[in-house]
């Protein structure tokens, strides 16, 4: 027997996505608390009697362990932790949307403990039937902040003057809010109140909801580059969703 055993890592995780691999296995993209995004092979999980089959579902907190290094690691165990009811109805699509953002904006093996907690909280809120849009907007703002692109929402670009809730602004990517001149119109126009609401995660005002959605779409498009968001497209293709 070789004395060299591969070191085993373990901790809390969510399944972000799974794809079939070879005859009976899956490649699973995990979002772990301590190690960020980790791809693992779940061997034999597609066999009819695999005990892991029902456990490795998205939107459920799991305790996992894995070993190995590099492109693909091997899943050793996964245990259901519970505490978050299964997502229902439209909330499932929102959950997929959050997962797609993480898959496309967070690089592998870059730990983000804060983001893990923010994601857990967002999934929890989706599962409790909270209004969906506010959960998505708060998550998007927090996600960018955790990735190092915090939005300046309380001060004007350059001058750093406090945002005037009664004024209108446009948002320049990587600079911040720029006050519109009298009579000036802009494709993505934001009231000062919208910006201040977003800074405090307040989304009761329909105008805030509408304008923040446009702003986040603009900013996410910038960070995603030419990557498309499948989930957003599919939600739009479902007429009555």
């Amino acid at each position: 027997m070789s004395a060299q055993r591969p070191p085993v890592e373990s901790g809390q995780a969510f399944v972000l996505h799974a794809i079939a691999w070879r005859e009976t296995s899956q490649i699973i993209e995990l979002f772990t608390r301590q190690h960020g995004r980790v791809p693992v092979v779940a061997k034999g999980v597609r066999r009819a009697r695999s005990a892991l089959r029902g456990v490795l579902q998205p939107f459920q907190p799991l305790g996992v362990s894995w070993f190995g290094q590099g492109e693909l690691r091997t899943l050793k165990s996964a245990e259901w932790q519970g505490g978050i009811p299964l997502l229902q109805g439209r909330a499932i699509f929102c959950g997929f949307y959050l997962n797609e953002l993480l898959l496309k904006l967070v690089v592998r093996d870059d730990p983000h403990e804060g983001l893990f907690d923010i994601y857990t909280q967002a999934i929890q809120r989706l599962s409790e039937g909270d209004a969906l849009e506010p959960v998505l907007r708060s998550f998007e703002v927090s996600l960018l902040r955790e990735l190092g692109y915090a939005l300046p929402l309380q001060q004007e670009a350059d001058s750093h003057k406090p945002i005037d809730p009664g004024a209108n602004y446009r948002f320049e990517v990587e600079r911040g809010p720029v006050r519109l001149r009298e009579g000036e119109v802009h494709a993505v126009q934001l009231s000062g109140k919208t910006l201040l609401d977003m800074a405090e995660s307040r989304y009761e005002d329909p105008l805030t909801l509408n304008q923040s959605k446009q702003l986040m779409r603009l900013l996410l498009a910038h960070h995603l580059g030419h990557q498309d968001l499948h989930t957003r497209r599919i939600i739009q293709e479902l007429p009555s969703l």
Partner: protein
Amino acid sequence: MSPHPDRLLRLIHALRCLPGVGPRSAQRTAYHLLQHDRAGALVLAQTLTDALEGVQHCQQCNNFTENPLCELCASDQRDGRLLCVLETPADLLMMEQTRSYQGRYFVLMGRLSPLDGMGPQDIHLDKLVRRACDGMTQEVILATNFTAEGEATAHAITELLRPRGLILTRIARGLPVGGELEYVDSGTLAQALLERRPSA
């Protein structure tokens, strides 16, 4: 320069369209067919061409069939008021094995899977709407999988069909028949508790 003749290379490449077959097993399969089972390979080639030419989607239930209508849809022994929606032909076989369902079927041939880019067009939702709105159907039974994708699919179909005056139901989930609490997984038990019903 590849040591393989061009036709062999093309065979190896073509075999990779099989699910779960990577470059190595494609190469192994190609060697095997050419070296040890040329007769089997010929049968495979001919039946594959045959199937491609002769198998189509049933006009009504979308399952594979050799005729415009499959046997189940052509039968007059089934209850047209019930329409059961499934992900795959394999699911339909399982359902038939229960011998407890006499209604009709619709096979989606997949599921909504937003992260893989699988949307409504990929699962024939327009065809399902036409099928369900035939004037006969009263209840649509959603028997997609209890995975996130299966649940999302069931929800989308519900949203699509309920405004058209149909009754939408979802198959129940919970402990397996003869299941003992001690041996059931926590996720199933937790969900069974959430979805408990009045005791008979």
